[in-house]
Assembly symmetry: C2
Homo-oligomer: 327 residues x 2
């Protein structure tokens, strides 16, 4: 079995090879933005999850590489289009695709990436290919649904915790579940194990997103790599905000809304005021507990998976790595 | 065997049923624009071609309906995104999706349609499903490539006839070829016949697009349903323009470019001046001959298809219908 580091290295080598192949394809105006997007780096969490799941059953992961690539290309496709919709100008310290190449390119090259992900997914034959394709298609539709909810919730005053969790399940968690389940299906695992891995991915995905929200509000910017309070300034829903609105008394709720809607308030002051309210309501601890609960769920699911414990150790290791992000 | 009219009716009934199913899906903000786009009508040429090809081999077309739907949903996805890129505000006499629902909706609902087309395509089992999916994916990528060339050529002064034909092959013709070949593959035809049908679709697609260009320059607006000269005003490449630039002497070429680039020239005057040059160069007849040649190619391919002539009669009929568009 490979270590997580080894899987990351194998995957990055494959990505580099494939992305340089794209460079020879015409029209360059379509394929260059794709290469730019794939070369920008990132955690590669989703394809690594796919390879980890596959590697639970097979030592040789070669034939799972195209599917891992497919997941990463799909994920990057969503980033291209989301960045247009959210008017984000910077990603991973570089200009976003629509800033660098123009919006039309980001739309069209994004589209091409969606189809490219199907091409990669179908590259290797597998007994379970139709299961994999159905899962992938279902997941892709859910990710679109999640992004739609996310956009709609931006202008909503009250989003319940349940609504918020369902939104991030669709927007973020299902792709982690899909990655793990695809890896298992491609390795011809039982459906029972494949479904457990899917649930594991859902819990990791929810934890991951709430952790992102937590770090955005309470993290230290030198670790997190972006400025604290981005969600507050962008007027985005987040787990801390959803909980604060749920727990605040009427007066505090009014105050919170007023601060968030105040366009003249300087950014620093706005963040400070919101964090003060979060503080009163002990949101930092509450959100942290939620993250811990989700990691615990993931651990429980992992224990239920009918494989020898040593084979699963890498997953525990990954969870420890992920949990460290919050400190 | 069904008549073309009957196939159209069956297809429209299925589309209506499916599009009303979409209405119950959440979030409505994602699915309403899809329904709006599917309900807007159109010729439904591509799904009808798929059904015609399937109907060559099977009397009962029921199980080809989801794939026909997939092709139409995919085609409409390209319209949603192309209309953003081309800043088109009206389609089929109604506001385009990005005008009615906003650009973000047109991007995201378009994305969902791309995935929805895969879902429909996989709905029925078929022995040749992996062939169908590979063809569809290849076609989708080619359509993106064609759109990219189209956008790039708008700012190019010289586009050769060969480049132009390749662009419209990718942007338009391959989807007609794909529709016919999918129909044949789903009906479990031989690869030989499926490939002939693909080539037939390519020739019909090229003829169809050049006819569109011809009608835009030389048609009578009451038949065509849109104003003459739209391509000239929009600065789009078209078969007449490509031929005119190819055939004109240096002086006429200069003049043509000057007129096209002159932003102060009133639309009516600009169209008149360009048509005058087309007239001098006998572009109307030349383009018409090209269309006839492509229909003749299509007819030759049809004759080579190893099926009894009466079974193929509907295709001859369709070609006659298509040819009538130019008069």
């Amino acid at each position: 079995m490979y270590t997580i580091d080894e899987l990351q290295k194998i995957l990055n080598a494959e990505l580099q090879k494939r992305s340089s192949e794209l460079d020879t394809q015409k029209p360059a105006g379509l394929y260059s933005p794709i290469r730019y997007s794939l070369d920008a780096g990132g955690k590669r969490l989703r394809p690594v999850l796919l390879l980890m799941a596959y590697n639970l059953f097979h030592e040789d992961i070669e034939s799972a590489l195209p599917a891992a690539l497919a997941i990463e290309v799909f994920h990057n496709f969503t980033l291209l289009h989301d960045d247009i919709m959210d008017k984000s100008e910077v990603r991973r310290n570089s200009p976003t695709v629509h800033v660098k190449y123009g919006e039309n390119s980001a739309i069209l090259s994004g589209d091409a990436m969606a189809f490219l992900s199907y091409r990669y997914l179908m590259e290797e034959n597998s007994l379970r290919m139709s299961d994999v394709l159905e899962l992938f298609t279902q997941t892709a539709l859910e990710v679109c649904e999640g992004q739609q909810f996310d956009m709609e919730y931006e202008s909503r005053e009250i989003v319940s915790e349940a609504e918020y969790l369902e939104m991030i399940r669709l927007k973020t968690a299902v792709l982690l579940g899909c990655s793990l389940k695809c890896g298992a299906l491609l390795a011809n695992s039982t459906y029972k194990i494949a479904n457990h891995l899917y649930d594991l991915g859902i819990n990791l995905g929810l934890a991951f997103q709430i952790q992102d929200d937590w770090l955005d509000a309470f993290g230290e910017s030198e670790y997190f790599g972006k400025r604290i309070g981005g969600d507050i300034i962008a007027g985005k829903q987040s787990y801390p905000l959803v909980k604060a609105i749920e727990l605040a008394d009427d007066q505090t709720k009014q105050q919170l809304r007023k601060v968030l809607a105040d366009e003249k308030l300087p950014a620093g002051k706005k963040i400070e005021s919101v964090l003060e309210i979060y503080n009163q309501l002990e949101i930092k601890d509450l959100a942290f507990e939620k993250i811990q609960t989700l990691f615990l769920n993931a651990e429980n699911i992992l224990q239920q998976i009918d494989l020898a414990e040593p084979r699963k150790s890498k997953f525990y290791e990954l969870m420890v790595q992920m949990q460290k992000r919050s400190h």
